[in-house]
């Protein structure tokens, strides 16, 4: 079968599991799941050659809803798990799913070092600027004036800027998507997965239950006015000065991915022991 035939043979439905999502109706994560399955079908990679790794939170439920291999891991540690998997099984397509709480707070340090290490992973963060699963606490990307019973008077804290941090830390591909555009998101995910090294895709994914105001995002998003650059300084300037709703690929770097030779994954523990004895 040619690669084109393989692509035609893969349908988005092949990547969906029988488990029905339990997200709130209206949640942006439904669209993200759709974008995942459409992207995988477009790539033509069979489900058993893809691993979807996640941490904890609404967005991190996503591996269970796909038919790919998956790991619903520890809070904030999805990147550590995924890095270990990719290093030992470079043949797999490894996609990491997280949210703004899991990825930028609990997993914030892993985020920096995953960007720096530049392993060939695709890191998707569904950003709704809130901890949804635990009933609406402010997250690192929540606006300072977010005033609720859980953050009286607002947080007063400057929000985290994930794209700038990813760029400064060495991510090799940076994009921003909007969940309400699943086909466009799927196309960007395909490019992110194809791009060598650490690809970071932030998806603005409204939480309609705890942030009903985010339903309005569909009226705020707009395509990035210029094509992606490979110049980090230029990318930094663009990302720092945009309104947070520019959608598209913003940066494509050309750093060589980190892929240490771990001697293959034979599964033979005695070989591993020998390495420690050296």
């Amino acid at each position: 079968m040619s690669s084109a035939e393989v692509r035609l043979a893969c349908k988005p439905a092949d990547y969906k599991s029988d488990i029905k999502p339990i997200w709130c109706p209206g949640c942006g994560d439904y669209h993200v799941l759709m974008a995942f399955t459409r992207a995988f079908a477009e790539l033509g990679v069979p489900p058993e050659q893809i691993a979807v790794i996640s941490g904890i939170g609404c967005s991190s439920r996503i591996p269970a809803y796909t038919s790919c291999y998956g790991f619903h891991g520890v809070h904030g540690r999805s990147l550590a798990l995924a890095a270990g998997l990719k290093v030992t099984r470079p043949d797999l397509t490894v996609v990491v799913a997280s949210g703004d709480g899991d990825g930028y707070s609990i997993g914030g340090n892993h985020f920096l070092h995953a960007c720096r290490r530049n392993i060939d992973l695709t890191y998707v963060v569904m950003d709704n600027r809130i901890y949804g699963m635990t009933k609406g606490q402010p997250s690192p990307t929540t606006e300072p004036e977010f005033d609720t019973a859980l953050s009286p008077g607002g947080t007063g804290l400057r929000p985290f800027h994930p794209l700038v941090i990813a760029l400064a830390s060495g991510a090799n591909f940076i994009a921003r998507c909007f969940s309400g555009e699943p086909n466009q998101t799927a196309a960007i995910l395909v490019e992110a997965i194809h791009h060598p090294g650490f690809s970071f895709v932030e998806i603005l994914s409204p939480c309609v239950t705890f942030r009903p105001d985010e339903r309005d995002w569909k009226n705020l998003v707009h395509p990035a006015p210029v094509a992606a650059t490979n110049d980090p300084a230029r990318a930094a300037r663009r990302i720092m000065t945009d309104d947070g709703f520019n959608i598209g690929i913003l940066y494509r770097g050309d750093r060589k991915p980190y892929q240490p030779d771990v001697g293959g994954a034979s599964g033979d523990l005695s070989e591993l022991e020998k390495d420690f004895e050296r």
Binding site: L8, K11, K20, P21, I22, W23, C24, P25, G26, G28, Y30, H31, R38, K135, G136, T148, A149, L150, F178, S179, G180, E181, P182, N183, Q184, A187, P206, V208, T209, F210, R215, K218
Partner: protein
């Protein structure tokens, strides 16, 4: 987002049938997805409405397949591009779903979808140069116009919900 732009290009009658079929098939999947969501969130009335809409779209899809004759609409469609922006016209807007939504809201979603499909086929009928494509696009346009009328008739059965329709006496969040 469910605005339909970046539509696949139609170069042949087979393209038109394949896209028309896919529009209906996408709608079947989307309404089933919404029915599943309502099932999870215990809104049985809406489960029924979305399943009924899904069934209706399935009948339309089968009609298109029959009309296409020897053209394998599924195989042909797999080789064609999807909507590059927005979604397929009859994919109801997922972002507008709410666990307390009423049949009126569901039918509003359906109406919006039928209107987008009508606009899509109208634009093909108006711009196609190939007479066979033009004629068939006009046929689909008439079908969609009928569907718009049908949803309008169905909407008469359901009153506009009160302003407090989304108020939950036992809400999932207490931030007050």
């Amino acid at each position: 987002m469910s605005s339909s732009t970046g539509a696949p290009r139609i170069f042949s009658l087979a393209d038109l049938f394949a896209v028309a079929y896919r529009i209906e098939a996408d709608a079947v999947e989307r309404y089933n997805m919404l029915a599943d969501q309502m099932e999870t969130h215990n809104n049985p009335e809406l489960v029924q409405v979305f399943r009924d809409l899904s069934r209706a779209e399935g009948i339309h899809a089968e009609e298109i397949r029959r009309m296409a004759g020897d053209i394998d609409v599924i195989a042909h469609g797999q080789g064609m591009a999807r909507w590059s922006r927005g979604e397929s016209p009859e994919e109801a807007d997922l972002a507008s779903a709410h666990y307390l939504m009423t049949p009126w809201h569901a039918l509003q979603l359906a109406l919006a979808g039928e209107k987008r499909a009508l606009a899509f086929f109208t634009s093909i009928a108006e711009t196609a140069k190939e007479p066979k494509i033009k004629k068939m696009a006009e046929e689909f346009m008439e079908e969609e116009a009928e569907h718009v009328n049908l949803v309008h008739r169905l909407l008469r059965k359901y009153p506009v919900p009160s302003k407090s329709w989304a108020q939950d006496s036992d809400p999932p969040v207490s931030q007050e």
